[in-house]
């Protein structure tokens, strides 16, 4: 063969070799990672093992919130025969909703996707109906959804579970919000080799990370007391024609919340259809001017500082009192000259309280507000707690001291008021209120220990104020409604509502705060009614409701007179 033919042949072999090597370089190096990933996706399956969300249990371990079977409904678009007919059949199975059929049709008609989500958290019964329709291309993926055996009871306390921006379950408000991390747990992962038909290969490679179930919460909440309180509060709102109302009951020894109810409330199952202004628990997030119920705290400060004694007499209680251009009057415009401190509380005498306030002075008054927890969050384990800000001491003038001494011109939340009175009930200790008593994991129960924040008053002062409150209940304007035979320490309140820089002439917040039995308190309770129309007075609305609830508690807990 001539030499040029040999060279041409060598050259063509060389060229072929270069082409083959280039191609191999392209597939093995440049596209190598992509092909490896595709091969792995064919060989391996990755499954996320969802972690069940923790339950919320009452003190008797009954589930107030638990989980039930639900499904995610999806469509594989390539298998949908007729989008319009499929959408029509699906819409008939779901609860009626505006534009549902149109929405389904829109999703099923998409050309740019292989898979579409149709609905989440669908009940099993609806999924069974969809399956019975025999529609092609419709599939289900198991998930869980929250279930409330007691319906909307304790809705404000519990909160609800919605979705975050990534579509994952997220707790909002109340306990679901505060304890979201504990409740959600951690999903597990299972990565293993599979056969062509998708079955796992046992001797193949496997990586398993077990899911960690969410922790359960065991509350201080007494389910039967909560149910009774909600029924009584609902009846009370109707009877007294009030716009809104709340009841909170606390254990004076632990700070545990035995019951907490407010209306209007909402249904946590259908939260998306509810007014979102109702989501926030007003007991921990809405403030009000407390009025006369605040007097027990002011008197506690005065007695504790020894600036007044129970039988000291008021020298200014002869009539209305002018302070810095304002006139302070009593609620009934009756005046009791030379009243003792005991009688000032008994008559709920605003003028007498200005006398007590002056005796304390702005500095010490402000200090006691802080000690009682006013102007600070209580630390209760509910997501939406807020506290109104206390104006700085330097900005206080005489009229501020005067009005604050009878509970006006100062704002607190119901939980702050309850926490403060609990300090009187338990001998002087300010406790951190808590809804959760224990957190249950797979292996153990972690007790949430009661926390004493500080001592506010000494035990002698607490006993004196208790007796003043018992006297107020026995001889004050609410005495007609008090259950016979029981020593109840309490105080009525009727606070005017500030609107646009002045106080409304007719609208009030009626309240009653107290604890019983006075000598060995089992509970502290605050009842508030907003704008009662049958009567503006706390003694005629909130007080009878308080006593009505207390009577039930006495019977259920076997507390004898």
């Amino acid at each position: 063969m001539s030499s040029w033919r040999l060279q041409a042949l060598s050259f063509s072999f060389l060229l072929l070799g270069i082409i083959v090597i280039s191609r191999l370089f392209y597939w093995q190096i440049l596209e190598g990672e992509k092909l490896l990933a595709e091969a792995e996706s064919q060989r391996f399956q990755v499954q996320e093992i969802p972690a069940p969300r923790g339950k919320i249990l009452s003190t008797d371990s009954f589930p107030l919130v638990t989980n039930k079977e639900a499904y995610l409904v999806y469509a594989i678009l390539s298998e949908i025969e007729n989008a319009q007919k499929t959408a029509q059949k699906l819409a008939q199975v779901f609860p009626p909703s505006e534009d549902l059929e149109e929405e389904f049709e829109k999703r099923l008609s998409r050309q740019d996707l292989a898979w579409v989500l149709l609905a989440r958290k669908v009940d099993k019964e609806i999924c069974d109906e969809i399956e019975a329709l025999g529609l092609s291309g419709i599939g289900f993926e198991k998930e869980e959804k929250r279930f409330y055996p007691e319906s909307s009871m304790s809705a404000h306390l519990l909160g609800f579970v919605g979705q975050d921006s990534a579509g994952r379950d997220q707790g909002y408000f109340g306990l679901e919000g505060f304890y979201d991390l504990e409740l959600k747990g951690r999903p597990g992962i299972l990565r293993q080799e599979k056969t062509a038909s998708g079955k796992p290969i046992l001797i193949g490679w496997k990586l398993e990370e077990e899911e960690i179930p969410g922790r359960d919460l065991i509350l201080y909440l007494d389910r039967s007391i909560q149910y009774m309180v909600e029924e009584k509060l609902k009846d009370g709102l109707e009877k007294y024609g009030a716009k809104a109302g709340s009841v909170v009951i606390m254990d004076p020894e632990t700070g545990g919340i035995i019951a907490m109810a407010s209306f209007p409330n909402y249904d946590p199952v259908n939260y998306a259809q509810e007014d979102k202004n109702l989501f926030s628990n007003p007991i921990v997030s809405e403030s009000f001017e407390p009025g006369s119920i605040f007097k027990v705290l002011v008197m506690s400060a005065a007695i504790n500082e020894d600036v007044v004694k129970p039988n000291d007499r008021c020298s200014v209680c002869t009539g209305p009192r002018a302070i810095s251009g304002y006139t302070v009057k009593t609620w009934d415009e009756k005046y009791h000259p030379d009243s003792t401190m005991i009688e000032i509380i008994q008559h709920s005498d605003n003028v007498g309280m200005t006398y007590v306030g002056e005796k304390i002075g702005i500095d010490r008054f402000y200090d006691y507000l802080w000690r009682f927890g006013i102007g600070q969050k209580t630390g209760i384990d509910l997501e939406e707690e807020a506290s109104p800000i206390l104006r700085p001491k330097e900005k206080w003038v005489d009229i501020d001291l005067a009005t604050a001494s009878f509970g006006q011109g100062i704002a607190i939340t119901p939980i702050q008021m309850t926490q403060a009175v609990t300090a009187i009930a338990n001998g002087g200790k300010l406790l951190e209120p808590h809804v959760v008593a224990k957190i249950k994991t797979r292996d153990k129960e972690i007790e949430v220990k009661p926390k004493v924040i500080r001592e506010v008053i000494n035990s002698t002062t607490a006993k004196i104020i208790t007796e003043m409150m018992v006297n107020a209940t026995e001889k004050g304007e609410a005495k007609w409604a008090k259950p016979k035979g029981f020593r109840i320490a309490g105080k009525t309140g009727t606070a005017q509502i500030p609107i646009a820089g002045h106080y409304d002439e007719e609208k009030t917040i009626a309240s009653f705060v107290g604890f019983a039995p006075a000598d060995n308190p089992h509970f502290v309770m605050l009842v508030t009614l907003r704008e009662p129309t049958s009567s503006p007075w706390g003694s005629e609305t909130a007080a009878p409701l308080w006593f009505d609830i207390a009577k039930e508690i006495f019977v259920r807990w076997g507390i004898q007179p």
Binding site: K68, I201, Q560
Partner: protein, 99 residues
């Protein structure tokens, strides 16, 4: 000469035994691996059965709590004719004979 033949024969026997053993273990491994490889289907079935039982247990638990909820008990009591006690008086002493 005879001694050398004997040693050779013993060596051959030893090699033969080793080969047999290796072959047996090799076959055993193949057999076990085959059994395990095809057990994936059984595992899937057992997992499905476990999931079914867990779902059933969850359904029964849901039914129990629904039936024992206070709202249901209250409405059932009303339907059965029970009425709330209107007069309840509490006595200072425990109303039982102690002796």
């Amino acid at each position: 000469m005879m001694k050398k033949t004997k040693i050779l024969k013993n060596n051959q026997r030893a090699i033969f035994l080793i080969v047999i053993l290796v072959a047996v273990f090799f076959l055993a491994r193949i057999f076990i691996a085959n059994q395990l490889a095809t057990s994936g289907k059984l595992v899937d079935e057992l997992k499905e059965e476990t999931n079914r039982l867990v779902r059933e247990s969850s359904r029964l638990e849901k039914e129990i709590v629904e039936l024992s909820s206070l709202s249901r008990v209250s409405s059932e009591a009303g339907r059965l004719g029970f009425k709330k006690a209107t007069v309840v008086s509490l006595t200072p002493e425990i109303p039982v004979a102690l002796r």
